[in-house]
């Protein structure tokens, strides 16, 4: 087993892991703000990216405008889902499963809608830069570095937001203890809508960052959701940094099992390890804030 192959496997594992982490980050944010798992998060990422692709390739807009549009559409969609659907479920005190099933249904709908509107092809977006770096024989693309940077930026931003701004604190309070929060004058419903809006934005960001590397197609949503969810769960669900760690863990697991076990069993291995970790480390690798659903 050459060093080069191992280095490449690690580099690829981390890169893919970052992709999962970005999606998981958004899911962790939504969970943190609403105690809900957004099973259509991957589809939101696809919608954001597909919108940007459409703007670039058909409407011929400049990239920055297309990207903004993508983020906007995903945010609006996510917000509408909250206002129109999630709120109704909350109003009648629906059980946890209903929310899960709602988002599963929406995911199904969005995926079919993306196929219907955008077609079956796979599309790429232009990357931030096309440099290639070689580290210990492993190829790393410039886009990966950008992703690391932007992810770090987002993480720091989120941490500051939740810890030091009134709005962020209110969002967390509204989800941890809705009744208590309401008594202090926090508009719980608005906070949840804000969470969904933020989650939608993050999904779009994830989609836009990774599309230059892996392309966007109508089938990608469920895979991204699953991997993102796994990343978030591994990281403890409420901890965005945990999603990063969780995502990278999964990415490395996959890559190393391809190298050391077999490329055919990659999913079986990665998911089995995921189940084992969930059972052995119930709070996730980094999670502290107590997982709901326990």
């Amino acid at each position: 087993m050459s060093m080069m192959l191992l280095a490449q496997a690690c580099a690829t594992g981390i890169t893919n892991g970052l992709i999962y982490a970005l999606v998981g980050l958004g899911m962790a944010v939504i969970f943190k703000g609403s105690r809900l798992i957004n099973a259509m998060h991957g589809e939101l990422a696809v919608v954001g990216a597909a919108t940007a692709v459409y703007c670039v390739e058909i409407a011929m807009w400049p990239t920055w405008l297309a990207v903004t549009m993508g983020m906007l559409i995903a945010m609006v969609l996510s917000t509408l889902v909250d206002i129109g659907l999630v709120r109704r479920l909350f109003n009648r005190n629906a059980r946890e499963e209903s929310f899960l099933l709602l988002t599963v249904g929406l995911g199904f709908t969005f995926s079919a809608a993306v196929l219907y509107v955008f077609g079956r092809e796979e599309h790429l977006l232009p990357a931030f830069g096309d440099e290639i770096y070689e580290v210990a024989g492993a190829i790393i693309r410039e886009q990966t570095i950008w992703i690391v940077g932007i992810a770090a930026f987002i993480l720091i931003g989120l941490k500051l937001f939740y810890k030091y701004t009134d709005f962020g604190l209110a969002m967390m309070a509204a989800s941890i203890d809705p009744d208590g929060a309401a008594t202090t004058g926090i508009n719980v419903r608005l906070m949840r809508t804000a969470t969904f809006a933020l989650g939608g934005l993050m999904a779009a960001v994830a989609g836009l960052l990774v599309t230059p590397m892996i392309g966007v197609s109508y089938q990608m949503g469920p895979i991204l959701t699953l991997k993102g969810f796994a990343a978030a769960v591994l990281g403890g669900l409420t901890n965005p940094l945990g999603a990063l760690v969780g995502g990278i863990t999964i990415g490395l697991l996959e890559s190393l099992s391809i190298v050391y076990i077999s490329s055919g069993l990659k999913d079986a291995v990665a998911l089995s390890v995921l189940i084992v970790i969930m059972i052995l480390v119930p709070d996730g690798i980094l999670g502290r804030s107590g997982r709901k659903g326990g």
Binding site: Q8, E57, I58, L115, V117, H123, I132, I214, I258
Partner: protein
């Protein structure tokens, strides 16, 4: 680069009726044909081009007066890439709608399940798959519009050994269709004796296969066979500077995949059947007709679909428009010279293609050119 086909997909999906009725003015009773294609779900990638080919063929035939003066009425069903739904559609088309023949399905699993319903009734089925299992040879009404994987495997190795003259081969394939081809590659290797230095697998729908590509690069092959319906492996191989020529099969030889490959769409050979930029004489008419209608060029899938409809039409013309489905099936079971290739539906594999039917193309900087190489000689 504008995606004109995407625009057309949107419009086409909204306007294309589920039933193609013959235009007014035909007093004669229409001949009813059915089609089961994957217009949604993972199979849509090949199902939609097939549908385009089928619709065009029916339109062309009806414009020329139909079959023996009677127009074709086509009922198109979508199995959603689900073999169970395909069974239901087949039951509908055969027993309720009383179609004379079925075009499609798109996927192997659907072909097997639909064949189980149609063959006992001796209704001709023209699937866009190659014969997969031995028992399918007994289904004498289920013909095949694409080569067997055995033939695909041979076509690849013919080129590798006789044109590229090399023996150090790596294979990167998906866990579904690619797996079948890999098995066949190993089987037919008795004749070619190449050295498979690496064989890596990716699961259908994978977003990245760089690690598998790295394993392949580590074995330094002279050519990499990439088999599966995704542009990702091509991109990943080139990204890690795996610069050996790549070779692939007809499933990925389409303009959509070329676009999705981006810069990686270079130095790739395809064992396919139609290079529209440089068509063979018997393909020129079809290419022109397609181009006039859709403003783009067709590839193998569209040609295969065109041939399927025309072969059925020829069978009906021969057996007579009022013939039973069984008689039509018998009439189809013979040689047919199509735009894609020369078929012989009476062959044991119910397809009748041979190595010499293949047309090899080379993708250079996003453009297809025909390679002057004929396999099987």
């Amino acid at each position: 680069m504008p995606i004109s086909l995407t625009r057309r997909t949107v419009l086409g999906a909204m306007l294309a009726p589920a039933i193609i009725r013959p235009t007014l003015g035909h007093a004669a009773e229409p001949i009813r044909l059915g089609a089961i294609l994957s217009a949604t779900g993972p199979g849509a990638g090949v199902g939609l081009p097939q549908r385009n080919g089928v619709l065009l063929a029916v339109k062309a035939i009806n414009e020329k007066g139909g079959i023996a003066g009677r127009p074709i009425e086509l009922l198109v069903e979508d199995d959603g890439s689900n073999p169970d739904a395909a069974v239901t559609k087949a039951n509908n088309l055969i027993f309720s709608q009383k179609v004379k023949a079925i075009i499609g399905p798109t996927l192997t699993a659907s072909t097997l399940s639909v064949g189980g319903v149609a063959d006992p009734e001796k209704i001709a089925v023209m699937p866009f798959t190659g014969l997969g299992l031995e028992m399918e040879k007994q289904r004498r009404s289920v013909f095949h519009m694409l080569p067997t994987q055995d033939l695909n495997a041979r076509a690849l190795l013919e080129f590798v050994t006789k044109n590229m003259k090399t023996r150090k081969v790596a294979v990167l394939h998906d866990s579904a269709y690619g797996n079948i081809v890999m098995t066949k590659l190993k089987e037919v290797n008795a004749t070619y004796n190449v050295d498979f230095v690496a064989a890596e697998k990716w699961e259908v729908g994978a977003t990245d296969v760089t690690t598998q590509a790295a394993k392949i690069k580590a074995t330094a092959p002279d050519v990499v066979l990439v088999i599966g319906n995704s542009a990702t492996p091509f991109r990943n191989l080139r990204q890690i500077r795996m610069n050996a020529p790549l070779m692939s099969a007809l499933g990925t030889a389409s303009y959509e995949y070329v676009r999705a490959m981006g810069d990686a769409a270079d130095n790739i050979i395809f064992a396919e059947f139609l290079v529209a930029e440089d068509p063979l004489p018997y393909q020129k008419d079809f290419v022109e007709t397609f181009h006039k209608e859709y403003d783009t060029f067709p590839k193998t899938m569209e040609a295969s679909a065109w041939d399927a409809v025309h072969a059925v039409a020829a069978g009906i013309a021969k057996a007579g428009p009022d013939a039973t489905p069984a008689a039509i099936s018998d009439a189809i079971r013979g040689p047919y010279a199509g735009a894609m290739a020369k078929f012989d539906f009476s062959a044991p594999d119910l397809t009748g293609l041979s190595l010499s039917s293949y047309v090899y193309s080379k993708l250079e900087k996003g453009k297809f050119t025909r390679v002057p190489f004929t396999a099987g000689q």
